[in-house]
């Protein structure tokens, strides 16, 4: 398998102060993490809370530097953020003083090389892609949580990154909105061919979205197993994919892998973070 993003033996640790004795200790978030992500694939990463899922994403995004190991994209080491990757965060990171349209244009202004008219046109195209053409002139406070996250996705896709990184983007949404956005995301991914890395703590979400589901172990985080998911998601709008037996089987497989992580804390893990 040719890979676009490669993580080799990645470790990440921070110094934190213990709760009991205020001593500085090493807090190991990730250790010996290997992961290969193929071009155009949809990979979901699921793991127990606090296992370092978001840390993995920050590393790929270039927002953090690993303590050890290497990260490459198309063979080039990742040294910082770049327009080949974009990130959708859980919190809606729209600029509140810009309309939906202008928020998408914001990303295009950062990319540069487009005239004002081209930016406007491109923004409209991507708002249409996420079904928000009618809301282009609305300010974020006039949009629902789901709509805001759609704008954020449109913004992230507008400058046509090769990799879309998503950090629990639907974590704050209600169940029905979340399902609808999951279906939309699959269809957008199929149409654009963008590589997607999607972090979640929700097993159903991981199985529904991912072609592969990477299951992480609890701290120190590493990839415990990768589950290949072969689901027919076509016509997800009318057909309840989540109710099929295949879906249940994949879900159970991931659930079992995660359940094993509920073992008692290892002695090494006494330096808890508040």
């Amino acid at each position: 398998m040719s890979s676009r993003i490669q993580l080799r033996d990645v470790g990440q640790s921070f110094l934190v102060r213990g709760n009991d004795d205020r001593q500085l200790r090493e807090f190991v978030a990730l250790e010996g993490l290997d992961l290969d992500i193929a071009p155009g694939e949809f990979l979901t990463v699921v793991g127990p809370s606090g296992c370092g899922k978001s840390t993995v994403l920050d590393l790929i995004a270039g927002l953090a530097v690993p303590t050890s190991g290497s990260l490459t994209i198309d063979g080039v080491p990742i040294t910082g953020p770049g327009l080949d990757r974009s990130v959708v965060f859980q919190q809606y990171t729209l600029l509140p003083w810009r309309t939906a349209q202008a928020n998408v244009e914001f990303a295009l202004e950062a990319k540069g090389g487009l005239s004002k008219a081209e930016r406007k046109e491109r923004a409209q195209t991507y708002l249409e892609l996420v079904g928000l053409s009618e809301f282009a002139g609305r300010y974020p406070h006039e949009l629902s949580g789901g709509m805001k996250q759609r704008v954020a996705i449109a913004r992230s896709l507008s400058y046509q990154p090769e990799v879309l990184l998503m950090d629990e983007p639907y974590g704050a949404l209600d169940a029905q909105t979340r399902e609808r956005l999951q279906e939309e995301l699959v269809s957008i991914w199929q149409r654009t061919g963008t590589t997607v890395v999607f972090i979640t703590h929700d097993i159903d979400e991981a199985v529904f979205l991912g072609q592969r589901v990477a299951v992480m172990s609890s701290r120190p985080g590493r990839i415990k197993a990768i589950v290949d998911v072969d689901l027919d998601r076509s016509g997800a709008g009318d057909r309840d994919v989540r109710a099929t037996a295949e879906f249940a089987a994949y879900r159970h497989e991931v659930w079992t892998l995660l359940r094993e992580e509920h073992a008692p804390a290892r002695p090494k893990e006494d330096a808890r973070v508040a």
Binding site: P81, T93, W97, K111, P140
Partner: protein, 280 residues
């Protein structure tokens, strides 16, 4: 009669959609507004009547507090003779110059101070000391250094207006949502572009808090400085009329300063609203 604040705030409310539908049917919104305005006008009229009647019936000495009509007559004389305009102009130039100078200096400096944490931590206590020094206490200092002319008056207004704007700019820039900064970083925005497109717009509402405080301060310090020593201006007109026992004229000048303060405040609020329309 409307309920008290307690009942008004705790009463079961219709949900937003019901409220919107009530509004769409036009049942109450316009009428409610008219009632609100009418009550406000009622309050002002009551004040005017009290002012007019108390001196006339002799409850207060009409020499020290002349009836409103006498004051308005003196006011009209001031306007017709052009005297009021001369003083108002002098006051406007001083307070406007001081206020603008303070804004132009404080916003860039505040942004620079807030941008670098060590600089901010270095300056913060010094700035707190200055901010808590009453500007008027320094009036003699300014007069000593800059003389009794325009320079010292504009300087002290600048000084008084400077700190609220500076501190609010620092607060606004330093408390920008970290998530917005992260998304700017992901987009590879340069520090200058990040400042221009993310940090500054996000800080504008906070900066305006300081600007509004400064607007009120500018008028306050202006009048005080003119009372102490000037040959024109509303403060001068007040003290001159007082010293020459032109009492109705003095009240006319005081009323003018009230209107000036009101105008400045409303103007700044309108400006603020224009710049932060995006807020819910």
């Amino acid at each position: 009669m409307s309920p008290s604040l307690l009942e008004e705030r705790t009463e079961a409310r219709p949900n937003p959609r019901q409220e919107a539908s009530v509004r769409a049917r036009g049942v109450s919104r316009g009428r409610r507004r008219a009632v609100t305005v009418a009550r406000g006008v009622g309050g002002l009229v009551t004040l005017a009547v009290i002012w007019e009647v108390l001196p006339r019936v002799g409850l207060v000495d009409s020499y020290f507090i002349p009836p409103l009509s006498t004051v308005l007559e003196a006011w009209w004389q001031l306007i017709v003779s052009g005297e009021l305009w001369r003083h108002l102009q002098a006051s406007l130039v001083r307070s406007g110059a001081g206020f603008l100078l303070a804004t132009v200096l404080a916003i860039p400096l505040g942004a620079a101070v807030a941008w670098y944490r060590p600089v901010r931590e270095f300056f913060q206590p010094v700035l707190e000391v200055f901010r808590n020094t009453a500007a008027l206490a320094l009036l003699p200092v300014f007069t000593l250094i800059l003389g009794i002319g325009e320079a010292s008056k504009i300087a002290i207004i600048t000084f008084a207006c400077f700190f609220p704007i500076l501190l609010s700019t620092i607060a606004g820039v330093a408390t920008v949502d970290a998530q917005l900064l992260r998304s700017a970083k992901v987009l590879g925005l340069s520090p200058v572009a990040t400042f221009r497109k993310v940090v500054f717009p996000a800080a504008v509402p906070t900066i305006f808090t300081g600007i509004r405080i400064s607007g009120a301060t500018a008028i306050l310090v202006l009048i005080a400085a003119e009372l102490v020593g000037a040959n024109a201006g509303l403060g001068f007109l007040i003290s001159y009329s007082n010293n020459n026992m032109l009492i109705p004229k003095m009240y006319a000048a005081i009323l003018t300063t009230s209107l000036l303060g009101l105008g400045v405040n409303y103007g700044l609020v309108a400006l603020e609203r224009r710049f932060s329309r995006w807020r819910s």
